[in-house]
Symmetry: C2
Subunit: 241 residues, 2 copies
């Protein structure tokens, strides 16, 4: 047996439970595959300079009035008066380049802000999956994978993404985990990995978005490794690591 | 398509999240396979008259001083000054017959008490699995399967038990569920069902109990359908349905 210290990785299925986990970990990967953290990665890929995640629509509106480009999503839809929701397709193109954007979403930005109060926070999604794994292997640390869930409840797509990260970290030999949530996330990932889209066809969130005609968004969000960018929280905003 | 109304079933992975679910359901099955709800079923099987679940050791001690037989478990161990913890083996035998017992445990009795404030609460475990399923099929209702977890966190054994109940209810045709937690619980159950003991070998709770030399307890708790008794909460105490 090697005597090398192993770092810990664990999955937290809901921001509602974050307080139960936070003292044991140094870094957090905030995950909201459908769609906030995917949209954030996409914005940086398209040249955004900064993104300010805010928890309430009021904060987003106040910043929009100061001249920021601002996105606001609640229950899958664009909030009235805003130009964007959290569709990744809204964060592609020349209008994004060099901008500081403001974003508030139902689940993801709350998870980021809650974790950022106390932790180093990286933004993870399937679109930057391998980049997140590479970072955590090159700079290992005790890390909590924080699923954003849906209004505080467990969701499948974030759990699967967390399971994918966990499996790779354990395979690296640098990490250990003995927690039930981590075991469950890895099982769900193994079950889903050959066909994320098919596996999630029954999921509540996918149905919710499908009903809003967002199938193209879902396909984009479930396609791994479209960017190597890792957004990180620094001094009140997300920037490229 | 049949027009018959379907009842809803959903899994809540932690009592910490109960408030997010409770308004949608009429009945709750509280599940703490290792070991509180198993011990409660066992006590009734051995002739207990009533069980008073209390949330704190202080309440249990006060009732013990009034003359009740009282069990208290924290972190897998019997609390000093009490005759029992939550080992099901403590709740077998003549000393149980006709008694009103008091019980407080790390997770299970808290889940029961939290749900009992607002809901009809049944006590479920693997030992009374088919009885619970039969009840919910014969008297269908919108039901939340409440896993007790471990100190508020997700655990595997309660999730698997909830997955087993869910699968049977959906197969009955009387129930529907479209929630991600329910889908996940059913996947975990399908993965585990041929060998609960093997599947749970990596689980944190099983290791915790194994370290306390409680392997016999674990085997008992993971053996389905040892009783047809369903404890139900009525006026401050659990009684046989």
């Amino acid at each position: 047996m090697s005597e090398t210290k192993k770092y810990r990785v664990e999955v937290c299925f809901s921001p509602e439970e974050f307080d139960l986990y936070k003292q044991e970990y140094k870094a957090v990967v905030a995950i909201d595959v459908l769609r906030a953290t995917t949209a954030i990665c996409t914005a940086f890929q398209h040249g955004a300079e900064k993104m300010i995640p805010v928890s309430t629509v009021e904060e987003a509106r106040a910043l929009k009035e100061k001249g920021f480009l601002a996105g606001a999503e609640r229950n899958g839809q664009i909030v009235e008066g805003f130009d964007f929701g959290n569709s990744p397709y809204s964060y592609m193109g020349e209008h994004i380049k060099g901008q500081t954007l403001v974003l508030t979403t139902t689940n993801g930005t709350k998870a980021i802000n809650r974790a950022a109060e106390t932790h180093e926070v990286y933004v993870g999604a399937l679109v930057n999956l391998d980049a997140i794994i590479k970072l955590l292997i090159e700079q290992p640390t005790d890390v909590l994978l924080l699923a954003s869930g849906w209004q505080g409840k467990f969701n499948l797509e974030d759990s699967i993404c967390a399971g994918a990260i966990t499996e790779a970290l354990l395979e690296s030999g640098l990490y250990m985990s003995d927690e039930d949530s981590t075991i469950a996330a890895m099982f769900l990932f193994k079950k889903a990995k050959d066909n994320y889209f098919g596996f999630l066809k029954a999921s509540s969130h996918r149905r919710r978005l499908k009903n809003l005609n967002l199938n193209e968004d879902i396909k984009y969000c479930l396609t791994p490794n479209q960017t190597e960018i890792i957004p990180v929280y620094r001094d009140g905003a997300l920037v490229k690591l």
